[in-house]
C-alpha cells in the first residue's frame, strides 16, 4: 500500500442555506458580485453542513462513514465526486471515481434494459467500447433474464431496476468507488452477491468509501469507520441512544 493518500480532505467546511434561492433577489446577487471578500461567518439562514473535516483514505482501503441523518455524510461524497465545491478547505483525489450515489442514474424509462446499460454506464464515466466488452458480464451479474433486456425498463419492477443499475455500477474500472446508501438494493441473495463483488474489487486494490445507516453491513465490508454527527467527525463510536 502506498503512503500517498488517494483521497485527502483537509479542513473542509461546507455552508448551506436553509432557504433556497428564492430568498436571493437579483439585487442581492449583484451586490454580492461586487463585494470582493466572502464573509467568513454565517448569515441568518445559513448553517455549516460540514465543519473542519479532515479525512485521509489510502489506496486499497475501504472506509465507512456512519452517522444519523443530516450529519453530512452525503455532502462528503458529493464533495469528493465534485458535484459540489467546498466553502473552505482543499480536496485532492488521485484517481478516477465511480460515484454510485443513486442506482441507475440517467435511466430512461422508454429505453430497453440493454440500452440503459449504455446511458447509465457513460454517465458513470465508462466508455462505449468498455461497456460493449462488459455487456455480458453486466447482464449475467444482474441476474435478469435475457429476454427482459430488450423490454423498455418502464416495464421493470423497482427491484429489477436496482439490480441492473447496481450491476452496471460495480463493473466500472474506476479506482475509487463512492457508495451512498445503495447497499439496500435487491433481495438477500442479490445483496450477498454484491458484497462478494465488493470483496473481489477490494482484492484488486480498489478504494471504497461507503455511506450507510446500516452499521452491521458497514462493519462487514469496511476496514475502518468514521463516525459523524452534525457536520463533525467524532473521535469514537457514539453510544447508542437506547
Amino acid at each position: 500500500m502506498s503512503s500517498d493518500p488517494i483521497i485527502e480532505l483537509s479542513n473542509i467546511c461546507k455552508k448551506y442555506k436553509i432557504k433556497r434561492k428564492s430568498s436571493n433577489t437579483l439585487r442581492e446577487d449583484i451586490e454580492k458580485l461586487f463585494s470582493k471578500y466572502k464573509k467568513e461567518g454565517l448569515t441568518g439562514d445559513e448553517f455549516w453542513a460540514l465543519k473542519d473535516i479532515n479525512i485521509k483514505v489510502n489506496k486499497g482501503e475501504s472506509v465507512g462513514i456512519y452517522g444519523p441523518n443530516g450529519s453530512g455524510k452525503t455532502t462528503i461524497i458529493k464533495l469528493i465526486s465534485s458535484v459540489t465545491i467546498p466553502t473552505k478547505g482543499d480536496i485532492s483525489v488521485n484517481g478516477t471515481i465511480a460515484p454510485l450515489i443513486s442506482v441507475g442514474a440517467g435511466f430512461h424509462p422508454e429505453l430497453t434494459g440493454k440500452e440503459n446499460i449504455y446511458t447509465n454506464g457513460t454517465i458513470l464515466g465508462m466508455s462505449i467500447k468498455y461497456l460493449k466488452e462488459k455487456e455480458n458480464d453486466i447482464i449475467d451479474f444482474s441476474g435478469l433474464r435475457r429476454e427482459f433486456l430488450d423490454l423498455p425498463i418502464k416495464n421493470y419492477s423497482s427491484g429489477m431496476n436496482a439490480r441492473l443499475g447496481f450491476s452496471v455500477a460495480v463493473h466500472s474500472n474506476a479506482d475509487i468507488f463512492l457508495l451512498d446508501e445503495i447497499l439496500a438494493v435487491g433481495d438477500e441473495a442479490f445483496k450477498k452477491k454484491c458484497f462478494k463483488k465488493i470483496d473481489s474489487l477490494k482484492k484488486k486494490n480498489k478504494t471504497f468509501l461507503i455511506v450507510t445507516h446500516n452499521l452491521e453491513n458497514l462493519k462487514k465490508i469496511t476496514d475502518r469507520i468514521i463516525y459523524m454527527e452534525k457536520g463533525k467527525i467524532l473521535d469514537k463510536a457514539p453510544i447508542p441512544d437506547n
Binding site: N24, L26, S81, V83, L111, Y118, T119, I123
Partner: protein, 259 residues
C-alpha cells in the same frame, strides 16, 4: 479550445445523450423522423397561405414557399434549441445533484438533436428547390459556414440562458416571450432589401438576420457572401460564445447547490 478539452473525455456521454434524446422521441410515433420536417413545413404553408390569400403582397423575387422555408429552416433550429436548453439543466436535477460531468453536455445534446432535425428538414428544402426550378450553383456551399455560424450563435445563447435559468426562473419566462418577439424581429416573413440603411443596421444587430438573409442569398440568388461581413459576424459570435461559456463554467460549480 476550452470546449473541446472539457468535453473530449466525455465524448461518449455526449454521444449517448444525443442518441437517447433522438432515439426516444420517435420510438413510439408512427411518422417518426418525418416530424422533423412537419414543423417548418406547416409554418411555411401557413405563412404562404396568409401572404397569398389573406394579404396578397410580394415578398422578395422568389416563390413564396421557397422564400419562407429558407428562413424557417434556421429559425426552427434556433427556436427548438433555445426551448430545449431552457429546461435541460433545471429538468435534470436528479443527475446534477448526484453525479459530476461537464454540465454543458445537457444543453449541447439538445442542440445537437435540433441540428439533426435541421439536416433532415433540409432534405425537404432540396425537393422544394427542384420543384420550383431554382438553379443551384456552387455558392450553395456557403451554407456550411453559415450553419456553423448559426450553431455557435445558438450554442452561446443556450449556455447563457440555461445556466441563468437555474438561478432565476424569470429567464425561462423571458425567453419564451422574447422568442415570439424575435420571430417578427427576424426577416422570416419579409426581406430587408427594401428597408432603409438605418433599419437594416438595426436588424443586423440580431445575428439571425445575417444568417437568414445570406441563406437566401447563397441558395436562391446564387451569390457569394461578402467575405468581410462573414468574418465580422463570426468574430462577434465567437466573442459572445467566449463570454457565455466563461460565465457558464463559473456558475456551473454551484448548480448542484441551487438547483
Amino acid at each position: 479550445m476550452l470546449l473541446i478539452t472539457r468535453l473530449y473525455p466525455y465524448r461518449d456521454l455526449l454521444y449517448v445523450f444525443i442518441w437517447r434524446e433522438f432515439g426516444v422521441r420517435y420510438r413510439n410515433s408512427v411518422l417518426g423522423i418525418l416530424w422533423s420536417i412537419i414543423q417548418p413545413l406547416s409554418m411555411m404553408l401557413l405563412i404562404t397561405f396568409i401572404f397569398t390569400y389573406v394579404i396578397n403582397v410580394k415578398v422578395g423575387d422568389y416563390p413564396k414557399p421557397v422564400f419562407f422555408y429558407s428562413a424557417l429552416l434556421p429559425w426552427t433550429f434556433f427556436l427548438s434549441s433555445i426551448t430545449s436548453s431552457m429546461s435541460s439543466l433545471s429538468g435534470s436535477q436528479a443527475l446534477i445533484t448526484k453525479i459530476y460531468f461537464p454540465r454543458e453536455v445537457l444543453p449541447i445534446s439538445g442542440i445537437c438533436v435540433a441540428f439533426l432535425d435541421l439536416l433532415i428538414a433540409s432534405s425537404f428544402y432540396i425537393i422544394l428547390l427542384i420543384y420550383y426550378n431554382i438553379s443551384l450553383n456552387l455558392t450553395l456551399l456557403w451554407i456550411i459556414p453559415l450553419f456553423i455560424l448559426l450553431f455557435i450563435y445558438t450554442l452561446s445563447l443556450s449556455l447563457l440562458f440555461s445556466s441563468l435559468n437555474v438561478y432565476y426562473k424569470d429567464v425561462g419566462l423571458l425567453t419564451s416571450f422574447l422568442m415570439r418577439l424575435l420571430f417578427f424581429g427576424t426577416p422570416i416573413i419579409y426581406s430587408i432589401d427594401s428597408l432603409s440603411l438605418k433599419l437594416k443596421l438595426l436588424l443586423f444587430l440580431n445575428p439571425l438576420t445575417f444568417i437568414i438573409e445570406n441563406t437566401r442569398r447563397v441558395i436562391l440568388e446564387g451569390r457569394n457572401i461578402v467575405l468581410w461581413q462573414f468574418v465580422l459576424a463570426m468574430v462577434l459570435v465567437l466573442i459572445l460564445f467566449h463570454f457565455s461559456y466563461k460565465l457558464f463554467i463559473k456558475i456551473e460549480r454551484n448548480f448542484a447547490d441551487v438547483i
